[in-house]
Amino acid sequence: MSTPAWVEKRKQDIEEIIGRYPQKRSAMMPLLHLAQEERGWIADEDVEAIAEILGVSKSLVESVCSFYSLFYRRPMGKYVITVCGNIACGLSGAAELTRYLEQRLGIKVGETTPDGLITLLVTGECIAACDGAPALQVNLEYCGNVTFERADEIIELIKKGEDPAAISDRFGIPPVKAL
């Protein structure tokens, strides 16, 4: 297996990450995040590289990686839309929103559009956006009160290549509610 490019390219970042912790093994999750940032998902060679960097077994890296739902072990779309499926969003129509997105994108939950642009996911974990239910995240940037109309607008912005943070700036959840 070849060494992934990020090991050399992000050498300084890797050293800085390891230096943050009293013990090297704590760098596991930050390195998994870094690998995923580079590739969009975590491939076998990333697992092997992290095991090598930290001096631990591949199976340990694999085991840690599989524990966390935000580490993706398969290729994802450039944009990952994650609909919150927990209680407050569920009460506010998250299931209907999900069905709408499936139909609008022509894919099922867990799938990626054929052009590789969008992956649609539903999370059972509450994403702490209950004041903007139903809520979703675009590459972990929040969008709240997602009506079908707002969902359409979000998808249009994605198709234009908009930055997820900018999408959230427009569709995010204000901290203080108007009276």
């Binding site: 966390y68 209680i87 407050a88 009460l91 994403i127």
Partner: protein, 428 residues
């Protein structure tokens, strides 16, 4: 006179993320005061006197917790629990995104009081924005000499490391958090030993919630007596109540502890949606047993809520009206807990999965009366039988709705409409 918020003051009006704005509001003055005029013991004593009870769910006094650290020369660590994942809870997210310097100042004060060698903020992976805000705020604080070596020239040094989780509810449990921070699966550990004795890397460790730590600068700056003048005698201070579900204005409302459920829902959260009636309320996240309309005048504090049969928990207040089916709600939670069980302990791993399976068939109208008996018997099998409390907490809401809304469960078992929705329509 309207109550003036403390932790959330300025949010939505001022750009408190900017350190200059935060300083203009008196920010970092408490740190200055503590480092220049108080010993670590003084700070600890003030927090203990203030009876600052942990805002993460347990309500355990932070000052007492800090006192459990053994003085044996080993390095100590402070971990801020920012893995806010309890369903219906979203106040830490707001504090981090809109008032990050308050948290940083609180961590510095707690680190000073507990003589921590290093501090960590464990922030849940979904809070990408919060992570970015904290990293930027820490860089600003470092440039101003509030974080790092020899802070404000006093000889006190402290590094604060932000550590991103990656999607696992159980990492909010303090020992699961530590396992995760050490680079492992977020599996909770058997207690004792408690983290105060054997925590991060086996060293004495304090784990405090974001909101708890955000109170510390005010306690140091204004004194314990000021803090004790807010809230109730045994639950002093304010609490940020996250209100969600079937209300007109879901949101975060910072109010004195002991505010009544009625005031919170009717005056702050805008009341129910037009034409609806109140069915039940969870006062503290997914695991809190339901309160009923008869509890509207209940004061929301750490002692009154348990006296009424529930818990204040994270103060994630979830409101259910007459359009909400309790069977389906129980199923939502059962699926959630089943997914989030770390799998170490058999009663939890198997119990949460079977609970979800049974509820799924009841919800579909395919359950039996025996299924209801099985669900009612879960307490003896899933409480007190596992390493952490996820197993116990996974069934508390269920037990409360099985008691108070038994008719809905029975209607589902009989395959008939439960009074909320018709099974035929819904399963189509």
């Amino acid at each position: 006179m309207a109550f003036e918020p403390v932790l959330t003051k300025g949010i939505g009006e001022l750009d408190l993320v900017d350190i200059e704005v935060y300083e203009k509001q008196g920010g970092y003055q408490a740190l200055r005061k503590a480092l220049k005029q108080m010993t670590p013991e003084d700070v600890h004593a003030e927090v203990k006197k203030a009876n600052l009870r942990g805002r993460g769910g347990a309500g355990f006094p932070a000052g007492v917790k800090w006192g459990f650290l053994p003085d044996d020369g080993r390095p100590r660590y402070l971990c801020c629990n920012a893995d806010e994942s309890e369903p219906g809870t979203f106040n830490n997210k707001m504090l981090i995104e809109y008032n990050p310097h308050l948290l940083i100042e609180g961590i510095l004060l707690a680190a000073y009081a507990t003589k921590a060698a290093q501090s960590f903020i464990y922030i849940r992976g979904e809070f990408k924005r919060g992570y970015d805000v904290l990293v930027k705020a820490l860089a600003q604080a470092k440039a101003k000499g509030y974080v790092g070596d020899n802070i404000l020239g006093t000889g006190f040094s402290q590094e604060i490391t932000v550590h991103r989780g990656a999607g696992a509810y159980i990492c909010g449990e303090e020992t699961g958090l530590l396992s995760s921070l050490e680079g492992g699966r977020g599996e909770p550990r058997l207690k004792p030993p408690f983290p105060a004795v054997s925590g991060l890397y086996g060293m004495p460790t304090v784990v405090n919630n974001v909101e708890t730590l955000c109170n510390v600068p005010f306690i140091v700056d204004r004194g314990a007596d000021w803090f004790l003048s807010i809230g109730t005698e045994k639950s002093p201070g304010t609490k940020i109540f996250s209100v969600s579900g079937m209300v007109r204005r879901p949101g975060n409302y910072e109010l004195p502890l002991g505010v009544t459920l009625r005031e919170l829902l009717e005056e702050h959260a805008g009341g129910l949606l037009p034409g609806r009636t109140l069915k039940a309320v969870q006062p503290g996240g997914a695991s809190s047993p339901v309160l009923l309309p008869e509890h509207l005048d209940l004061p929301l504090d750490f002692d009154s809520v348990p006296a009424a049969g529930s818990i204040l928990g994270t103060a994630g207040v979830i409101v259910f009206d007459n359009t909400v089916c309790m069977v389906r709600t129980a199923l939502y939670y059962a699926e959630f807990f089943s997914h989030e069980s770390c799998g170490q302990c058999t009663p939890c791993r198997e119990g949460t999965a079977w609970t979800a399976r049974i509820l799924r068939r009841i919800e579909r109208g395919e359950g039996t009366m025996h299924d209801l008996e099985v669900l009612r018997s879960l307490k003896e099998k899933m409480s007190g039988t596992t390493i952490c409390l996820l197993s116990d907490f996974s069934i508390t809401f269920l037990q409360s709705v099985l008691t108070h809304f038994a008719d809905e469960f029975e209607a589902h078992v009989r395959g008939k409409a439960c009074g909320v929705h018709s099974l035929e329509v819904r399963s189509a």
